[in-house]
Every structure is written in C-alpha cells, then in structure tokens.
C-alpha cells in the first residue's frame, strides 16, 4: 500500500489539475456566456481620486467586474452594486476581486459624487469617469451601445445593464445582466477567480471587435 502511495498522490494531483484547468467547462457558468470571449479593453479613465486609471494595468491578474451605470440611476445600478457588495462581503468569496463602475453620466458624476455613491455600497469599488468622448469610446470598446439621456427625461439614461466579468487572465467569458441573483454570483466568482492569470487556453477576441 505504501509503495502505491506516490501513484495515488500523482493521480490525485493530475485529477485536481484537470479540475483546475477545466474550472468552468462550457455550460458551467451561471452567468450568460459570451459567444466569443472578450479581452479586457485597454482604456485609461479617471478614478475618484482624480488620477488616471489604466484598467488593464491596475487589474492585471485579478478577477475584474466592469459595469457601466450612473449614480442617479434608481433601479438597475443600485441593485447590481448592492448585490455585488453583499456577495463580496461573504467569507467564502475570493478576496481580491476588482469591481469597476464606469459612469455614463460624466457631467453629473464627478469623482466626489461617485466616491460618495460607491462608498455607500463598498469602499473598495472603483469609480471611473472621463470626458463624454472618453466614456463613449469606453462603451464602444466593450461593444456596447452608447448610453444617452432619455428624450422625455434628460436625467434618466438608457444604458447597458450587464456586468462584464474578466477572469485573472484578462478574458471575459460571461456577462451578468440585471436580474442576476446572489447564488449565481457566488457560483461563478470562485470559478472565474480560479482561472490562472497566465492561461492562454481561451482564444480571446479583441474587445469591441
């Protein structure tokens, strides 16, 4: 039995490695799978301290959730952020997940306004803003329609409601639309976080292409 121990250990090691490599085989996600995985776009915006924030550089090797919204939003945005805050507060969740909130209403969402808003959910959330042109370009890079104020109520923006989830390898395989439940986040975030940063197994298309 003792002589077989190395073999058993080796088999277990191989099996666990297989499990890791195939952390989320196709169809295993609770989120909505993208038809084509998307690489994290190279964008630089302004964070809530007024400093440039290079999305790829600052979140390299980390699971990163990116969401476009605005602080005056009364329904989808606060619900998404509250859900994420509650999920991230759980002890069984990975610790180093970056949540990046990019405003689609840069005129009203100053860095101070965004910081105050995001702190009401989780002080670790990153808020990004920029000029209208920069924000429009950021949305294009994510392949999103450009958010615009509604004609009958200029204070309300029609905007994309999904959260993009990038694994540590910088690739988004899934998005999470409005209505995503905490059970779904709790299912997927550890799977995402288990994808090694250096993997090249998943062919990623350039963002927005």
């Amino acid at each position: 039995m003792v002589s077989r121990l190395p073999l058993v250990l080796a088999v277990l090691l191989v099996l666990s490695a297989c499990g890791r490599a195939a952390a989320a085989p196709e169809g295993a996600w609770a989120g909505v799978e993208l038809a084509r995985p998307m690489a994290k776009p190279h964008l630089v915006l302004t964070d809530t301290d007024g400093n440039p924030y290079d999305l790829v550089g600052r979140t390299a090797g980390r699971t990163t959730l990116v969401y476009f919204g605005y602080t005056s939003c009364t329904d989808i945005c606060p619900i998404h952020l509250a859900q994420l805050a509650q999920v991230m507060a759980r002890n069984d969740m990975p610790r180093d997940i970056a949540v990046v909130f990019i405003t689609v209403d840069p005129r009203r969402d100053t860095p101070e306004v965004m910081r105050r808003y995001l702190d009401s959910f989780d002080p670790r959330f990153v808020g990004l803003t920029g000029s209208v042109a920069e924000i429009d370009e950021a949305q294009r890079m994510f392949g999103l329609p450009i958010a615009r104020p509604e004609t009958d109520d200029p204070g309300v923006y029609g905007h994309a409601g999904q959260v993009f989830a990038f694994a540590p390898d910088g690739v988004a395989r899934t998005v999470y639309p409005y209505g995503t439940r905490q059970t779904q986040w709790v299912h997927d975030l550890p799977l995402l976080d288990a994808i090694p940063a250096a993997t090249t197994a998943v062919p990623a298309t350039e963002a927005g292409s």
Binding site: T74, Q86, Y178, Q182
Partner: protein
C-alpha cells in the same frame, strides 16, 4: 375592497335594527378588523410588501392572519354568520374546515405555499397575483381561528384543552419552521425582494432575516394572550366560579 367588506355589514346590522351594546361591540370589532386589513394592504405597507421588503410582506401576513381575521370573526354576529353560510351554501364546508386538524393543516399549508419562493415571486410580480395572495392569507386566517372563535357556536371546539393545544401548535409552533428557513438561509430566497432597490440600505439578507424574526416572534403575544384567556375561562368553568371582570369578550 374595504367598502365591500364593511358597507354590507353595516347595512345588514342596521336593517335588523340591532342597536344593543353587544351589536355595537361586535360592529366595532369587525370594523377594527377591516381597518387592520386596510392598513396591511394599502400604502406604505402594501407597496413595501408587494415590491420591496420581505419583512413588510411578512408583517402583512401576520396582520392579516393574526389580527384582522380574528377581529372580523369576533365581529360577525351569529345570525349573520348563519345567513352568509346559508346563502353561500357553505355550511357543511365551513363545518369541516372548523375541525382543528383540518383548520391547522389548511392554515399551515397555505402559510408554506404562500411563502415558497416560487409562489411569492410569481404572485408578487403583478397586482392580481398580489391580490390573490392577500385573499389566501385572509382565508387562511379566518379558517385557523374558526375552531376557537367562530361566530357559530357549533363550529367552536368544546374543549378548552383542545383549543389551547390547537392554538399553540397551529399558530405557535408550526410557523417557526419556515421562519427558521428565512432567518438562517444562506441567500435571499425571494428574487422579488433580492432584486428590489434597497430600502434605507437594508440588505436583502438582513431584510429576510427580519422577516423570519417577525414570523417567529410577532405571533407570540397573540398566541399566548389567546391561550391565557382560554385557560382563565377553562379554570372558571371547571371551578364553577364566575370569571373575574374581563375586557371585551375576545374568546368565546
């Protein structure tokens, strides 16, 4: 809805020319029940319970079943109860429903069904569904109190001992089980409340825990007060003494 419940009652009592103190007392009890029903259904509690907070949803349930329903039952005079059942041809059905075991099963069955995530998320998604849920709660509240305070004396169980055990089990013990699920669940169970805008920063999980606590605790005063009154009546019945001066007669 409230007018539909109260106007015919008042008209019927007036037509009968019943203006004695007992009739007035019963009318006050009945109308108090209707008012509680209205408070539980209308803004703000109705709106919060329908769309925002599981705790408000639970408060509504408790008000419907433990306050409004018994008050309304206590307020219905015997002659009116007989007339209603006769018109509806429901005497036999209600007689069967007033058996303690049947009433307990109906009440707790509806309690479990109307607090199951699928039911809540389906019914709360539209006004008709919410109305159906309210009516189911009112119905279950009326049924569960029938063996204790039915307007028709033959529907009340004769034994105080049975009634005390019944109230304790049907209203005090069984609801603790779903309350425990709500309190200790690892995740929000209802998408309706999980995906609602947060109310004063109250998280969906904490809201659900409050709902569980309400279900567990809010009924205690009603259940134990009812049991205490029945024990007192039982004691006076068996000792042959006349009951001490008592507040308005709540338990028949």
């Amino acid at each position: 809805m409230m007018a539909l419940l109260s106007v015919p009652y008042v008209i019927a009592v007036r037509r009968r020319g019943d203006s004695g103190p007992e009739a007035k007392r019963k009318m006050r009890l009945y109308l108090a029940g209707v008012i509680v029903l209205w408070l539980a259904s209308d803004w703000p509690l109705g709106l919060l319970g329908a769309s925002y907070l599981a705790s408000a949803h639970m408060a509504q349930f408790m008000l419907y079943t433990l306050v409004a329903a018994p008050l309304m039952l206590l307020g219905v005079p015997e002659w009116m109860g007989r007339r209603i059942l006769s018109r509806l041809r429901a005497y036999g059905l209600v007689r069967r429903l007033s058996r303690p075991l049947v009433a307990a099963v109906v009440f707790n069955g509806l309690l479990l069904a109307t607090h199951a995530p699928w039911t809540v998320d389906t019914l709360r998604s539209n006004q008709i569904g919410s109305f159906v849920m309210d009516m189911l709660w009112l119905f279950s509240g009326l049924v569960v109190w029938l063996p204790v305070i039915s307007p028709l004396p033959e529907f009340r169980h004769r034994s105080y001992g049975v009634k005390i055990v019944y109230v304790f089990l049907a209203l005090g013990v069984v609801p603790v089980l779903p309350a425990g699920f709500l309190t200790f669940a690892d995740f929000p169970l209802y998408s309706t409340y999980e995906l609602a805008p947060r109310f004063y920063g109250l998280s969906a999980q904490n809201d659900q825990q409050i709902a569980g606590v309400i279900m567990k605790v809010a009924g205690i005063p009603v259940v134990w007060a009812t049991m205490a009154v029945m024990m007192s009546r039982w004691y006076h019945q068996t000792s042959g003494a006349s009951p001490a001066p008592r507040p308005p007669q709540l338990i028949s």
